[in-house]
């Protein structure tokens, strides 16, 4: 308690002082109540944060524990290096799915990154302000469109188109999935790159123009290199999204457990295989364990990507 009230209140504004004192009630009681709420609230917040961590570890442990049981019946070598996936007959070679996932992701990025970066450059450097004001929200909305919808569009528009173009009966496969995924991750990559490019300080540009370079030269020699770490960050996020995407892929890739030897062979990836088979297997079967192991693989890959992003950010923070 402060003792100063009594002596300093000699000519304090009377009404103000009175009204405060009356409404304060028993100040000690109110204070301890506030203090109690304050500390309780803090505890609630800490527990919530810890809970988030628990969820992550819960997932990791559960996936790992279930996944590892695969190796009771299947050899390590078979799971990772065999392409023979025939669970009914006890063959659990997951290589084809792993290969499918990596091939699909690579192909997606090859398609999406150049276009996304061009869109970002266009948005950040060339577009007039009013157009930028409308395009950016549209991109944001595109990010929010459900993946099933992309899959559905791929199934009903893209695949018939591909069929016509190639003259095949079946167009499901890597290419179709990659195109759908590319369209999906395009807005994500473009928006984050756009932010990175916009964040490049104006002085770099001014310096470049002052030296007599053209707009084209400025963009490709100065702005893009300066925004490089931001763009790489965008690409990795897009990659994480592509690897983990399930529904859009399921609808167009064909879902056949065979190794993709061409762009139009129906095949399968880790995610699509899990979602197609998990609901129809017994919980205590090797088949199920194998699916969990595949899930764990996915999890590990995406966590590794995040670690990569963090390292990159750290490096970026040091450089600037």
């Amino acid at each position: 308690m402060l003792e100063m009230n009594a002596q300093s209140r000699v000519i304090a504004p009377a009404e103000l002082g009175n009204s405060l004192r009356q409404a304060g009630g028993d100040p000690l009681d109110r204070r301890s109540r506030l203090k109690f709420f304050n500390s309780t609230f803090k505890i609630v917040c800490v527990s919530a944060a810890v809970f988030v961590c628990l969820v992550l570890f819960g997932i990791l442990i559960l996936m790992f524990r279930t996944g590892v049981m695969t190796f009771e019946t299947v050899s390590f070598k078979e799971f990772f290096f065999s392409t023979n996936w025939d669970p009914e007959n006890g063959h659990f070679g997951a290589l084809l799915f792993i290969f499918g996932t990596f091939a699909l992701t690579a192909l997606t990025l090859v398609l999406a990154v150049p276009i996304a970066v061009l869109i970002a450059v266009f948005l950040a450097e060339i577009t007039p302000v009013w157009l930028r004001g409308t395009l950016r929200p549209i991109m944001d909305l595109l990010v929010g469109i459900p993946s099933v919808v992309y899959g559905y569009l791929g199934l009903t528009i893209l695949i018939p188109m591909l069929r016509e173009l190639t003259g095949r009966d079946l167009a499901d496969g890597l290419l179709a999935a990659a195109i759908v995924l590319a369209i999906m991750v395009l807005p994500t990559i473009a928006r984050i790159s756009d932010d990175a490019i916009s964040a490049v300080p104006k002085k770099y540009r001014d310096a470049s123009y002052a030296l007599g370079s053209t707009r084209f030269q400025t963009i490709f020699r100065v702005v893009l290199p300066a925004a490089r770490s931001g763009i790489v960050y965008a690409v990795i996020l897009g990659m994480a999204r592509a690897i983990g995407e399930t529904m859009a892929v399921v609808m167009v890739i064909g879902n056949t457990p065979q190794l993709a030897d061409s762009l139009f062979t129906p095949t399968a990836v880790l995610t699509s295989n899990i979602v197609m088979q998990i609901t129809s297997v017994e919980f205590d079967s090797t088949w199920n364990y194998a699916l969990y192991l595949m899930g764990f693989l996915l999890l590990a890959i995406s966590l590794l990507l995040i670690v990569a992003v963090r390292l990159l950010q750290k490096k970026g923070a040091k450089a600037s």
């Binding site: 000519i11 009404e15 409404a23 009630g25 109110r30 204070r31 506030l34």
Partner: protein, 253 residues
């Protein structure tokens, strides 16, 4: 010195981590008068001001040694309730910082925090505070408007009204006019003159003329130390330390 000392600072040291921002500061601040802190930037004057209502508590690594007594109570003592201290020692900041709420809600914010909910009481406090801050006549017809629609000078007076609304005894002004135009600055200075009859005012200013114009007592800081403090007239006309003389005659800072 006409009044008794309200605040007594005794051998105060303040550290930010390894850096010592205040060294052995001792001074007395008289009641119901204006005390000005002057000195070059980085000399510790704002830091000292912020120890008076313990706003430095929130800076990680800040550590205080020595004592500050307000009315005989050490405010860094364990039994002090920080929220009440801040209620009794109000603060106005360098940049006007009204909340993005209406003018009324800005002033009523503090009283509401401290448990006043009755509409009539709030109305009264808001009006009195705005009157004390010489803002009432300008805003009384649109109290519901956003505080951000006011001019910079009005915003700063609103912040003063907001600080007065919780019924403080001491008012700290941290370069409260440095972001304002000359006319608004004069208004705030006049306001401080009126308020000093009811409040103990401590102001930090980078403007020596302001200190000379409005304050009764002036404290000159250099490198975290108090070089000299005395009645304003004496400090400016007959400084006893060479460094003070150099500073007020404009040789550095």
């Amino acid at each position: 010195m006409q009044a008794t000392a309200l605040i007594e600072i005794n051998k105060l040291d303040l550290f930010y981590g390894a850096f010592q921002a205040l060294k052995q500061v001792s001074l007395e601040i008289p009641q119901r008068a204006i005390t000005a802190f002057i000195g070059p930037s980085g000399c510790g004057k704002s830091t000292l001001l912020r120890t008076l209502n313990r706003m430095n508590d929130m800076i990680p690594g800040a550590r205080v040694e020595g004592s500050i007594e307000i009315g005989g109570t050490d405010i860094y003592g364990g039994d002090v309730h920080v929220e009440t201290l801040r209620k009794k020692v109000g603060m106005v900041f360098q940049q006007p910082n009204p909340f993005p709420k209406s003018i009324y809600d800005n002033v009523a914010y503090g009283p509401r925090l401290h448990g006043i909910t009755k509409r009539r009481e709030l109305d009264e406090i808001v009006e009195n505070s705005l009157r004390s801050a010489a803002l009432w006549n300008e805003v009384k017809d649109h109290l519901k408007r956003s505080a951000l629609s006011l001019s910079g000078g009005q915003q700063q007076r609103l912040c003063i009204a907001r600080a007065l609304a919780v019924g403080p005894d001491v008012l700290l002004m941290d370069e409260a006019t440095s972001a304002l135009d000359p006319i608004s600055t004069i208004k705030i200075e006049e306001l401080a003159q009126e308020l000093k009859d009811r409040y103990t005012i401590v102001m930090v200013t980078h403007n020596m003329h302001q200190a000379a114009r409005v304050s009764h007592q002036t404290v000159f800081f250099l490198n975290g130390e108090v070089v000299e403090y005395s009645a304003t007239e004496k400090l400016f006309s007959d400084p006893s330390d060479q460094r003070t003389e150099d500073y007020i005659s404009g040789r550095f800072g």
